[in-house]
Symmetry: C2
Subunit: 404 residues, 2 copies
């Protein structure tokens, strides 16, 4: 590696946000949790058993015959996929996005990134849940915005706390509130219906864009379905979705449903990422959706992940020390553990690795150094029989540390 | 459409660069050239006959069997594809990118976008060829940089003119020089070997990152191959490539080969776009590459587009008024026409559309309002027999306007 780019040191070439990038810290934390010979309760990947491999194999010849399959496609997505999906979303949510209110993306994170680039200037304020998805956190921080976390409890984001923050802080009104209302990553908790209404009203009152990440929304375990924020406030909410959990992450796809003014800007910004989402993948998803197997796949996944949730929660009940709490998620991939305040889950990663078990330390999910006594466990991809063993190993590490 | 986002007008939500976005003008120009019942000499799409449809159909079952096909994959790309492609590039260029000098992207434009976001701050300077690819132009302008164009002649970018610009201008040294050295979009011209050496030396002297776009590099018609800028200066050049012209645009894929310091930043930035390029597409490309059909496909495409180039050049020779010039490209998709100074090719779009023929006005390819008497023609996708007819129609429009 050279130190310089010709006459200029590299650090003088990079944009200012690169020097101030706090993502390094999170990356370091995540890298430590990636060991492959361990029971990985760290990774939030979906399980391959939920992938529609057979359906894709069957529809592939049909799809490849279409003349648009290998060509560039419209930035907003292929008309056929957009039509099927707008109908599907309309049936689920009670609101169908209009033609100009929907954009197909290359995954949920692309949606968050596009919104950030269209809305945020350095110095702007963004509010997130504490804890929240670290990918979004790093994305917001890269725009040199001020990211503040509002607490989450059993009813999701504490809207009263957000209201107090808005009333008492002296800076500009935040531009974005980013929330994961259903089976949140990492806490597994969901926002109550009452708070959803309150948040939409608050956003209208202050002119704040709610970015609603619905990555786990379809993976509820008990049939209860709360209204999405977007359905409650399509005028102030951008719903960001991914097909990584309902189709497959190896074909990058997601969506943004949002007010037309914003979608128009996202389409222009997308011309500076991949210009369009791959047509072949869009046709495969449309075929899967129209065949009815999309809904069957979701039903399968709900049952599949519920069984794993049960195994993990049983193991946590049995093995976790009594002075630690864990969440029992009603959907999604994660349980969230809170240990006594003196425990440092970043430092404990090494001991856990010695025991061949990984997790993600809580600090990765906050913008402000909190979460040092918390950690996230995922039951989504590890083999069934390993969940209990992994929790047992982890619990022994935590028990030893707790007694210190 | 609502005027406001709750209590805030939309225009106060968007980032500052959105208000100053000059992309609008280019978008308007491009939209006018998109009519579907006309002979479209405007679009720079590859021809479906060059797509490896049969090869993909054959390799698909093999690829789908692999456990990684539908899962998330490493941000830098799957090891197998990276290994094949690093070897392929090494054989072509005489330099093999090291492990940490290569990143698989979701198309060439994603590479340009990632580099922009890692390097450019508002107010920074970027130098491009005049004319240049409008997608890159809009991408740079969205970062609120100052974009300046240096002239292109039959030997490509005028390096002496760039040297004079650097010597005489009072602003900061430009951070990026963006060039398309081979069969440039839109001019069809290539950079001489001598100028390539001179540009790399100049970049080293001033500490400027050369962004080399090799979108059309493999599509040369006469077997001559000049050294790439990246091969001449791997310490100061980021080579941005796309597989859209050598595989298929419907599977979004490209690469950046660059100094490790830069690639490391690009990988972090890519975690805020699609996080990883789709694994399914990567496996399909690797299979295609290792089977040897990638090289066969390139040989086919060269012959295929050369025939079309010949048809267009013959038609231009026959029909274009004598006071207009056109380029005879030695590769790629485009010929570039220069009419007498008083002609306005934006205004003439309407008359051309009445004649059912489309082109892209030259103004879209400059950052500074030049090119009003120029236009780009593409022979890549229009049916053979329509090329001559389209040129004849266009020539009649230009002839009538020239006499005015």
């Amino acid at each position: 590696m050279s130190v310089d780019l010709g006459a200029r040191p590299w650090d003088q070439l990079f944009a200012r946000h690169v020097a101030g990038d706090t993502g390094d810290q999170i990356t370091a934390i995540l890298n430590q949790s990636g060991a492959t010979d361990a029971i990985t309760l760290s990774g939030g990947f979906p399980h391959p058993e939920t992938f529609p491999t057979q359906a894709i194999a069957e529809s592939f010849p049909r799809v490849l015959e279409q003349s648009v399959a290998l060509q560039y496609s419209p930035t907003a997505g292929l008309p056929g996929l957009r039509d099927w999906f707008a109908g599907w979303l309309g049936a689920q949510e009670g609101v169908r996005p209009a033609e100009n209110e929907l954009c197909i993306t290359s995954g949920g994170m692309e949606g968050i990134g596009l919104i950030s680039r269209c809305v945020l200037d350095p110095g702007d304020r963004v509010v997130v849940e504490g804890p929240t998805f670290f990918g979004a956190l790093v994305g917001f921080q890269r725009t040199m915005t001020q990211v503040e976390a509002v607490p989450v409890d059993d009813d999701g984001l504490d809207v009263s706390a957000l209201e107090r923050l808005l009333a008492t802080s002296s800076g500009p009104v935040p531009k974005i509130v980013y929330v994961i209302p259903d089976f949140q990553n990492p806490s597994g908790l969901s926002m109550s219906v009452e708070r959803r209404h309150a948040l939409v009203a608050l956003a209208r009152r202050h002119g704040i864009l709610i970015v609603e990440d619905v990555a786990y929304r379809e993976l509820g375990f008990d049939g209860e379905r709360r209204p999405s924020l977007w359905a409650l406030g399509p005028d102030v909410v951008a719903q960001v979705g991914t097909f990584a959990k309902t189709f497959a992450p190896g074909i990058r796809m997601g969506w943004v449903a949002a007010p037309a003014e914003l979608v128009g800007q996202l389409l222009r910004a997308k011309q500076n990422t991949d210009q369009c989402t791959g047509a072949l993948g869009q046709l495969l998803l449309e075929d899967y959706g129209r065949s009815g197997r999309f809904d069957q796949g979701i039903a399968f996944s709900r049952k599949f992940y519920r069984e794993r949730r049960d195994i993990m929660v049983d193991a946590l009940r049995t093995h976790l020390p009594e002075d630690m709490t864990f969440t029992r998620p009603l959907g999604g991939f994660f349980s969230w553990i809170t240990a006594p305040a003196h425990l440092d889950t970043v430092a404990l990663q090494k001991q856990a690795l010695d025991e061949k078990v990984t997790y993600v330390p809580g600090a990765a999910f906050y913008p402000d150094g909190r979460g040092q006594n918390q950690l996230r466990l995922a039951y989504s991809r590890v083999p069934d029989e390993k969940i209990t063993e992994g929790v047992r190993k982890l619990a022994s590490v935590l028990t030893r540390a707790g007694g210190a």
